[in-house]
C-alpha cells in the first residue's frame, strides 16, 4: 500500500464507508459517517498492510485521510 488510491480502498474495506478519491482532503469531521473510533481501526489495518509501526499520536493529529496516509507512508 503506497498510493493514496490504495489507501482509500483500504479505508473503504476496513470501515465500510463509501468514500472516493475526492474525499481524501476533506476534514475528517466532514466525512459522512465518520467516527473518531475509525482512526484506531485504520491504524491496525495500516500497520498490517505496511508491515511497520505507524505513530498513533500523529494519526490522531491528522486532519484528513490524506494526512493519515502521509503519516503511514512516512512522507
Amino acid at each position: 500500500m503506497t498510493t493514496i488510491e490504495d489507501f482509500m480502498v483500504l479505508v473503504r474495506d476496513e470501515i465500510g464507508l463509501p468514500l472516493g478519491p475526492e474525499d481524501a482532503d476533506l476534514p475528517l469531521d466532514g466525512l459522512p459517517g465518520w467516527d473518531s473510533v475509525h482512526l484506531l481501526t485504520l491504524l491496525t489495518a495500516l500497520e498490517r498492510e505496511t508491515g511497520r509501526p505507524v505513530s498513533l499520536p500523529d494519526v490522531l493529529a491528522a486532519d484528513s485521510l490524506r494526512g493519515i496516509h502521509r503519516v503511514a507512508v512516512g512522507a
Binding site: I15, G16, V37, L40, L56, P57
Partner: protein
C-alpha cells in the same frame, strides 16, 4: 460421514464483502434477515469489518422493513473509551439474528450513569447495560509511590462502589447489568520489585475479582463476565498505545471477544437459548467410519486420536447433564450404531444419554425436522454438530434456523469448536433442567403409548394427568422466569421476565404469579407453566400465560384457565381480560381464549388483541385431569 457432492465449486472464503455489498446497494435494512447467515462463519477480522458497516445501520430502518425483528437495547458505559466495542457488539448480536440498539455513554460516565436514576442511560431503557471496567479504574486511585497495601485499599473502595451501583440497578427491577472481572497486567505487578509484595498484590486483585463475580449471585439482575478465561485463550488484555493515546482500556481484541460473550447472553435473554445438541457419529463422536471399519475399527479411546474423541464425548455428556437434550443423526445402518453405542468399551455416551438415536440414509435435514416434531420443539432450538462440510451445508441450506457447528478434521479441536458459541448459556440451572433429558425421553415413551390407543380421549384418560396450580414460591422464581424465557409456542404475549420481575409480580398488590406443576403415569413433569394475573377495578387481567411445549394439548391449559376464571368469579370480579400478542411461533395458541368463551374486545397496547370473559359460564375443567389448587405458597 464424509461425503462430497461431485461437481460443486470450491466455496469462497467467508468474507464481510457480502454485507458491504448489501450496504452499498442500499439493501442492508430490507435484506436484514439474510445478514445472520452471511455472518455465521466469518473469522474475527472479517466479522470486525462487517461490524463497522452494521454499526452504522439505523435499527429503526430495519424495523420499518421487518417490524418483528427482535431488538435488544444495549447501553455501554465504563471507565474509558468504549466506541471500539460497538461494531463487534452489533455484529455479534446480528450473528444471532438480533438487532442491537446501542446507547454509548461518555468517557468515564459509569458512576453517574448507574447511580443517578435520571441518567441518560436509564432514560434509554436498555435491556442490557454493559459496564466495562479496566485495571486503570483501580490504578487511577493509587498514589505515587505506591505499595500493594495502597492497591488493596483502592480495590476495596472500588468494589464497594460497584456493589452499591449494582444494588441500585437491581432495585430498579428491569434489565440486566453486565460487569466484568479486571485483568491484572504485568505493567503493574512488575513495578513491585519484591516477590512478597507482588504476591500480595496478586492475591488482593483476585479477591476483588472474586467479589465482583459474587455480585452475580447476590443480585439477580447482575451478570459478571469473567475475562480470565478469554485472556487465557491468548488474547492480549490491553494495547499499550491505544491505552496511552486513545483512552482505550481493554484491547480491541478482548472487547471483540467480550462482545461475543454478550451476544450469547443477549440470545439467552431474548429466549433464544438452544435446547438440543444433535451429533453426527463418524468423525464426530468417534474417528473412522463405522460402516467400513466396524465397531472394533473406529477410533475411540486407547489411541491418541481415540482419546481426543473420548474427551469430546465427555464434554457432550457434561452438557447433557445440564439439561441439553442430546440426540444422534447419523448416516449409518441402525443396528451397528445401536450395538456400538451399547457395547463399544470406549464409549462415554451410552444409549440412555440420548433422547433419540437416528441412524438411517435419509437427508439429515429431514431427520432433524422429524426429531423437532417428536420433541415438540422448534428446529431453532437445535445445535447440529458434524465434521462433514456437505452435511453442514445441507442442514444450513434446508433449515437455516438450526445452529450448525462444523467440526474440523482434527478431533483435538472439537471441544473448543463446540463450546465456542455458548449455545446453551443460561442464567442459572435448576432441578428441572437437570431432569430435562429424562422428561423428554418419557415424552417419547408417551408418544409410543399414544400409538396404542384408538382415540386421544382414551389416551388422555389412561395417562393419569395430575395438575397443581399454586402461587409461585421464592424457590420457584428462577424457574418461572426461565419458562417465560424459553417458551415460545404456548406463550400468549411473548413477554420475557427476569427473576426480579417475576418476584415483583408475585409480591405486587393485586397481582399473582401462579405456578403450574404437572405429573402423569410416566413421571413428574415439574413446573411446566406460569399464569400471571392482576386484579384491578373488578377485572382480573391475565398478563401472560405460558405453558411448556412438553405438556400442552393435554387439557392442562384448559384446567388452569378455568381455575383462574372460577377464582375471579368467586372473588367478586365481573370479568377476566387477557391479551394474545402474536409472535413468531405462538400462532397455534391464537384461538386459545376465544375457544374458552372469551370475546375479542379490542386492540392491545403494543400489539395483539384483548379478550374478555364475562364469567357468566365458566368452562369446566377436563374430566381426565386430577386438578388441585392452592392459595398458599406451601407445597
Amino acid at each position: 460421514m464424509t461425503a462430497t457432492p461431485a461437481a460443486s465449486p470450491p466455496p469462497a472464503a467467508p468474507s464481510a464483502r457480502a454485507v458491504a455489498e448489501l450496504h452499498a446497494a442500499g439493501r442492508l435494512a430490507t435484506d436484514y434477515p439474510r445478514v445472520r447467515g452471511l455472518l455465521a462463519d466469518l473469522p474475527g477480522a472479517e466479522l470486525a469489518r462487517a461490524g463497522q458497516v452494521l454499526a452504522r445501520l439505523d435499527p429503526d430502518e430495519v424495523l420499518r422493513a421487518h417490524p418483528s425483528a427482535p431488538v435488544v437495547g444495549i447501553a455501554v458505559t465504563g471507565h474509558r473509551t468504549l466506541g471500539t466495542l460497538v461494531p463487534p457488539l452489533t455484529a455479534e448480536l446480528a450473528r444471532h439474528g438480533l438487532l442491537a440498539r446501542t446507547h454509548l455513554s461518555g468517557f468515564d460516565g459509569w458512576v453517574f450513569d448507574l447511580g443517578d436514576p435520571g441518567s441518560e442511560l436509564y432514560a434509554a431503557r436498555p435491556d442490557v447495560v454493559l459496564c466495562v471496567l479496566d485495571p486503570d479504574v483501580v490504578f487511577d486511585e493509587v498514589p505515587l509511590p505506591w505499595t500493594a497495601a495502597d492497591v488493596e485499599r483502592a480495590l476495596d473502595a472500588k468494589v464497594a462502589l460497584v456493589r452499591d451501583l449494582a444494588a441500585a440497578f437491581d432495585r430498579r427491577g428491569s434489565g440486566t447489568l453486565v460487569l466484568n472481572t479486571l485483568p491484572l497486567p504485568r505493567r503493574f505487578t512488575a513495578q513491585l520489585v519484591d516477590y512478597r509484595s507482588r504476591a500480595r498484590l496478586g492475591a488482593a486483585w483476585r479477591t476483588a475479582n472474586a467479589r465482583l463475580l459474587a455480585l452475580g449471585e447476590e443480585f439477580p439482575s447482575v451478570v459478571t463476565l469473567d475475562l480470565d478465561p478469554l485472556i487465557a485463550e491468548g488474547i492480549p488484555a490491553e494495547d499499550a498505545r491505544l491505552g496511552r493515546y486513545a483512552g482505550v482500556g481493554l484491547s480491541p481484541a478482548l472487547l471483540a471477544r467480550y462482545a461475543r460473550e454478550v451476544g450469547h447472553l443477549a440470545r439467552h435473554l431474548t429466549g433464544r437459548t438452544r435446547k438440543a445438541l444433535v451429533c453426527d457419529l463418524d468423525g464426530t463422536l468417534w474417528g473412522g467410519i463405522l460402516g467400513d471399519d466396524g465397531a472394533e475399527g473406529v477410533e475411540l479411546g486407547e489411541s491418541p486420536r481415540g482419546e481426543a474423541f473420548a474427551a469430546f464425548q465427555r464434554v457432550v455428556r457434561q452438557l447433557g447433564s445440564q439439561g441439553v437434550l442430546l440426540a444422534v443423526a447419523s448416516k449409518n445402518d441402525p443396528e451397528p450404531v445401536a450395538a456400538a453405542l451399547r457395547d463399544h468399551p470406549g464409549m462415554v455416551l451410552r444409549p440412555d444419554d440420548f433422547v433419540r438415536v437416528t441412524a438411517n440414509w435419509r437427508p439429515k435435514p429431514e431427520n432433524l425436522a422429524e426429531l423437532a416434531q417428536a420433541l415438540n420443539i422448534g428446529v431453532d432450538s437445535f445445535v447440529f454438530v458434524d465434521d462433514s462440510a456437505f452435511e453442514c451445508g445441507m442442514v444450513r441450506h434446508a433449515l437455516p434456523d438450526v445452529a450448525v457447528v462444523r467440526l474440523a478434521e482434527e478431533p483435538a479441536l472439537h471441544i473448543e469448536r463446540l463450546l465456542s458459541d455458548g449455545w446453551f448459556d443460561t442464567r442459572e440451572l435448576n432441578a428441572d433442567d437437570r431432569a430435562r433429558s429424562a422428561r423428554y425421553r418419557e415424552e417419547l415413551d408417551r408418544q409410543g403409548f399414544l400409538a396404542s390407543f384408538d382415540s386421544v380421549a382414551d389416551y388422555l384418560s389412561g395417562l393419569g394427568v395430575r395438575v397443581r396450580l399454586a402461587p409461585v414460591t421464592a424457590a420457584e422464581v428462577a424457574r418461572a422466569s426461565q419458562l417465560t424465557l424459553r417458551t415460545n409456542q404456548f406463550n400468549m404475549t411473548g413477554r420475557r421476565l427476569q427473576p426480579p420481575e417475576v418476584r415483583a409480580a408475585a409480591d405486587g398488590p393485586g397481582s399473582r404469579v401462579l405456578a403450574i406443576r404437572s405429573a402423569d403415569r410416566f413421571g413428574d413433569n415439574g413446573m411446566v407453566g406460569v399464569v400471571l394475573t392482576r386484579a384491578e377495578a373488578g377485572v382480573v387481567h391475565i398478563d401472560n400465560f405460558v405453558l411448556s411445549c412438553r405438556v400442552f394439548s393435554r387439557g392442562i391449559e384448559t384446567a388452569c384457565l378455568s381455575a383462574v376464571l372460577a377464582d375471579a368469579k368467586a372473588a367478586g370480579a365481573h370479568a377476566v381480560e387477557a391479551v394474545f400478542r402474536p409472535g413468531p411461533k405462538n400462532a397455534g395458541a391464537r384461538d386459545f381464549y376465544p375457544e374458552h368463551g372469551f370475546t375479542r374486545v379490542g386492540e392491545a397496547p403494543g400489539g395483539g388483541a384483548v379478550y374478555r370473559h364475562d364469567l357468566a359460564r365458566v368452562p369446566a375443567s377436563p374430566a381426565h385431569i386430577e386438578f388441585t389448587e392452592s392459595q398458599e405458597e406451601s407445597r
